[in-house]
Symmetry: C2
Subunit: 424 residues, 2 copies
């Protein structure tokens, strides 16, 4: 294993020359590729085209309700059954929402800001509200916290979830810590899966804030790619410790069928879901029941949904393999990049040597490859080590991805060697 820092200045200069030559050669290829977001590819979207081409001849729900008309605030029973069975959530505890779970998360934060929950002080009336953010994490979660002025506290992500010793000690003593942002399965971007113990500790932990909330964004709950990891049921866990009103559970089919045209879900404990429904009843007359029917007709049942996910995994797996293979080939004999193979989800998260991520992303962009901004995976866009980069392999074709990864690796090396030279 070559340690970059152990090279002499002359050796580093030679490496710099070599990588710069490679970089310039790739730059001349005029790559133009945007891998900044976790977007599905055209082939992946094609798997769901049946939703678009199948006429919705029968618009009556199984309960005999005309889905074209007003009525039903919390979703048609077909989709409740489907999601309830898929995720093992009681139907009484869920609301089937619109097209975006992010929107449901935003609205949940807004509700807590404006109205509090179950009699607690609205968060907007408090001097300070802090939210725990396992890092690296999802930039759009952080953007919502910034919108409401919630102070974000970094919590390091470990192999089996956030550092629970740290979480427990903070939430026990600081009543201004009101929540934690979790993507519990195949987390964005690390692909971390929370262990049973992590889920149980989140459910059991003593919180100084009586209105503490776990924002449980199970966005990749069925996105198994290499292995099916199972997630301990947060409802079961919280019921065990009588803490179920701290759950705010989110799910959607955006990353399953069509982003922006899927069906989203929010679920909460017995008491809190009732309060949420009251607010929903003033916010809207109801969500798009026809689209709920379309999605249901397409999947029919849990088996149909899992069969679809298996096809989707078949689409994603070769792309993950290209990324992982290239990284292994280029970096297994040196210390310029570290990563952990994810078992599912949508991303590969990598760490450059300290203070090299921004320069890596800048170099890639200059050569036509747009990556997720360095820092985006940390609150306030501030990665203290300037090291983490999120690779989103879903959108490009395999051929494009190979070229992109070749360029990416050269950018990592060039940034690393130039940084190392600064210390010589």
């Amino acid at each position: 294993m070559m340690s970059l820092a152990s090279n002499t200045k002359a050796q580093l200069l030679e490496l710099e020359k070599k990588y710069a030559l490679q970089y310039n050669a790739l730059k001349d290829r005029n790559i133009a590729l945007d891998m900044s977001r976790g977007k599905p590819s055209g082939d992946q979207l094609n798997l769901s085209n049946g939703i678009l081409t199948e006429p919705l001849d029968n618009y009556m729900t199984e309960q005999g309700i005309d889905a074209r008309n007003y009525g039903i605030l919390d979703g048609i029973s077909e989709v409740k059954h489907l999601f309830g069975k898929l995720l093992d959530i009681p139907e009484a505890n869920m609301i089937i929402g619109g097209n975006s779970s992010l929107n449901l998360i935003y609205d949940s934060m807004a509700r807590l800001y404006m109205f509090g929950s179950l009699g607690s002080t609205p968060w907007g009336k408090l001097d300070k509200v802090k939210i725990l953010c396992p890092v690296p994490g999802y930039d759009r979660h952080f953007a919502i916290c910034e919108e409401f002025g919630f102070e974000m506290i970094n919590v390091p992500m470990k192999k089996d979830g956030p550092d629970m010793d740290m979480v427990e000690s903070i939430v026990k003593t600081d009543a201004s810590v009101k929540g934690i942002l979790c993507v519990p399965l195949y987390s964005n971007p690390d692909g971390t899966c929370y262990s049973d113990e992590t889920v149980l500790r989140l459910a059991r932990m003593e919180t100084a804030a009586e209105d503490f909330k776990i924002f449980w964004d199970n966005a990749y709950g069925i996105h198994h790619v290499f292995k099916q990891v199972s997630l301990y049921n947060i409802f079961d866990a919280c019921r065990r410790f009588n803490t179920e009103n701290r759950i705010l559970y989110f799910f959607s089919t955006s990353k399953i069928t069509f982003p922006g045209s899927g069906v989203a879900l929010v679920a909460a404990g017995d008491d809190y879901i009732k309060e949420i429904k009251q607010h929903f009843g003033r916010q809207t007359i109801g969500y798009d029941k026809l689209n709920q029917l379309r999605v249901f007709h397409f999947f029919k049942n849990v088996d149909g949904m899992l069969a679809h996910m298996s096809k989707l995994a078949d689409e994603l797996r070769p792309k993950f393999n290209i990324v992982l293979e290239t990284l292994r080939h280029e970096f297994s004999d040196n210390d310029m990049l570290k990563w952990v193979k994810p078992l599912g989800g949508y991303f590969v998260s990598v760490n450059t040597l300290p203070h090299c991520a921004k320069e890596t992303v800048r170099l890639a962009k200059e050569a036509g490859l747009v990556l997720t901004n360095a820092g985006a995976t940390y609150p306030y866009g501030n990665d203290p080590m300037d090291s983490n980069i999120r690779i989103a392999p879903s959108y490009p074709t395999c051929d494009e991805l190979e070229k992109a990864m070749e360029l990416f690796c050269v950018c990592v090396k060039l940034a690393a060697v130039r940084k190392a030279l600064e210390y010589k």
Copy 2:
């Protein structure tokens, strides 16, 4: 014209006996009809079935964007063109939203509550926020104001819109008055159409609150039934007086195609729409572009939309006629009920003699006809005269509606004569 109060006690007792007999006979018919909400009928919904049966084979937008994937926060350009031309709103000033304009209104109120607008103090940080409510009005608007604790102030509705002398004098002196709720064309429930002068006065009036907002819910903007009334363009009016940032304009196709599965719009002045878009960018990744495409493909252009509205008017007109004919027949020779014939929209608003509306609705309900609650058309459900009732004729068939109106008229009379007896 018979004045009920001019009857002797004996005459009233006789009338009471007669109406009670009629009422009991109708009660025995076991009517079961819910006319409480402005719901389209099955026949009306059938007019839009093309949206459901036509496959969406082409999911590329005119700008070459794959509508199945992420992207486009503020709506596809097709729908912007369509709505822009239909309503004469600049495309840059609009956001095409989800399925519900009510949701957009709620979110607009919530945004003002949490963030203020253009640098003003968030409404949630103020001791008192008051909203002017032309009455009678729309109960779901009032429910939103209640949700945020905004104090609602009744403003009488005149023939050509709210009493503008009153509006002007209040908003000029009271800085805690932050907005006015308007359904400017074929208002809910009165069918009032704002005159050019009313719109211009709203645009021109001096407001003590610098962040005053006009909630312009143009829900029935193209719902001409008997005559096409035109509405002065609020954007033109406000630009004339440099007040365009007080506009919050809402529209949707819920009452045009399918309630809950349509496309909604919010528009605002140049500066404020930019601020709204920033908040939208944190709230969601985007709305359902595929449904926007479906709606656009169905209408194709403004002519297609107006042709559709003409069919819809053909559906509604006979129902309005049944209501109006029955009322004329039963009440034109006495003072027990007053109403104004609406020229479009969705409702007929009637006024009983004072303190008779609740009893009328109760009697109807007891006989199987559910009407909109008496009082619902006033803030806090409190109609000071207990007189206004909203009739929603769209949902029942003509045959059902005839039976319902027969019952309704008897209920009005029975309630009136019993109330008159109390004074004797």
